[in-house]
Symmetry: C2
């Protein structure tokens, strides 16, 4: 029966107790509205560690002023049930004031990796993410922390922050969990109308199309991206935000595809932005 704590002090006491029993501590940071993607991270954490902490905190600093902080889905009772069902040991559910008390003014920024893609479209978003994750790491001091591949840029930013600042935590990225028709699970999928939900299958189809072209030998990024865009355009309400083939480490766009790459895209349906991506490992490019 996972205990629920709301303060840093209670959190630390509970984690300290677990650690003194020799348990390895895992952390799954979430914004609640938990779905099977989060559940898979908790499952993974249960395999890799002995005492799994799930944080549930809708972090205001990662939302822009025009974004959906207020209407972001909140389902705390169901979230607690899911955490318990999957064997979480502790749920950390702090107030905004607990994380950001009056006078709060310290921020962590991962500068180069946040410049493009989501960072460009959501100014301040990754500063908010890096800051709250750093704080959660300090509060919980987990041995391992778990994030979902669906937010690929977030994953890279957190890995880079951990490496740069020597944060004493191992980062594990769990694979994207999808609905039966391929749509990546996201707490924001509930915003979709039934028609949009149906059309949203084009995201995963486009990624699979890109993979097929690459597997067949295509190495020109523009050709692959153009084919993916054409497929996305078949969905009536889809507005493409971006589609790109990038270096998986730097997230910089590629012209020739080689080595560890990421196909990633964002498509808007009305006001709802859907993200998806596919990491691929290609042979290293020829020295040119």
């Amino acid at each position: 029966m996972a205990e629920i704590v709301t303060t840093g002090t209670a959190l630390r006491a509970a984690v300290q107790m677990a650690r003194s029993r020799g348990l390895r501590v895992g952390l799954v940071p979430t914004m609640g509205a938990l779905h099977a993607g989060h559940a898979s991270l908790i499952d993974l954490a249960r395999v890799r560690t002995d005492f799994v902490v799930v944080s549930i905190f809708v972090n205001p600093t990662q939302f822009g002023p025009q974004e959906d902080f207020d209407r972001y889905p909140r389902s705390f009772e169901a979230d607690v049930a899911l955490c318990r069902q999957h064997g979480a040991a502790l749920i950390f559910h702090p107030s905004v004031e607990e994380i950001y008390p009056a006078g709060f003014q310290t921020f962590v920024e991962v500068t180069a990796l946040q410049r493009r893609w989501e960072g460009e479209r959501r100014p301040g978003h990754f500063r908010g993410v890096a800051t709250v994750v750093a704080k959660l790491f300090h509060l919980v001091q987990p041995d391992v922390a778990f994030f979902g591949q669906k937010d690929a840029q977030q994953c890279r930013i957190i890995e880079q922050m951990v490496a740069d600042l020597a944060l004493p935590v191992e980062i594990v990225i769990g694979p994207t969990v999808r609905d039966a028709d391929g749509l990546a699970l996201s707490s924001r999928n509930v915003y979709l109308t039934p028609a949009q939900r149906q059309q949203a299958t084009v995201l995963w189809q486009a990624l699979q199309l890109g993979e097929r072209l690459i597997t067949a030998g295509e190495r020109d990024a523009h050709t692959v991206v153009a084919a993916m865009r054409r497929h996305l355009a078949t969905a009536a309400e889809a507005e493409i935000d971006y589609v790109a083939a990038v270096d998986r480490r730097t997230l910089e766009p590629l012209t020739r595809l080689a080595g560890p790459i990421l196909l990633h895209l964002v498509v808007r349906f009305g006001a709802t932005r859907l993200l998806d991506n596919l990491p691929l490992d290609l042979p290293a490019g020829e020295a040119s």
Copy 2:
């Protein structure tokens, strides 16, 4: 005999060994060029903790492009001797590449507290300080870390960072150590000509003058600051950078003096900037 380590890996192994023996770990971060002020912090750390780590790292990110990074005094052999004499257990002396490997891009900023005073005059300075201190905290994971009151704004910024990000470390501020004539010890005092060194006593004299006026009942900040400035002006080569009476928590300038305050000042002698300050505890102001 304090061991010298140069990599994060060796550092962590040595600290881990100490911790497994039940020792409390103290950290004294320095840029080397150690003097009696640093020695007093090591002494303090020896009283408060069992295993004292001294880091010696001239941190490039806290120097501006026009500043004295290249000519900053370096005296590693003497520094090691001083650390050993004062009972440090471990000296961490990393290369720049060890702390900032290729691709490093993560920074910590304490936003409001860095706006004025040194932060205004040295853009990026406190970002460099906060970043390297956060990284040292992650590498060493000390129970207690020790800083000198002479760098008052740095002390406040580090305290704020630790509180905001919930860094699991206690911060202890050691009092400023002075030469017999009152000049605050600083690694940069070696830049002074003999004539400047003699005149530099006006800093501490001005602070004492300010304290005397306040003790006698003066509560108008402008009156106190004006008297201090007049005294500083008696030194032929002194150029006042700033003199102010500030709220000790926010470092914002005060008009009426009340509660915990700080008198602080910076005076230039040629290219050398000398800092000094005096914290004072006054009765709380009347509600107005």
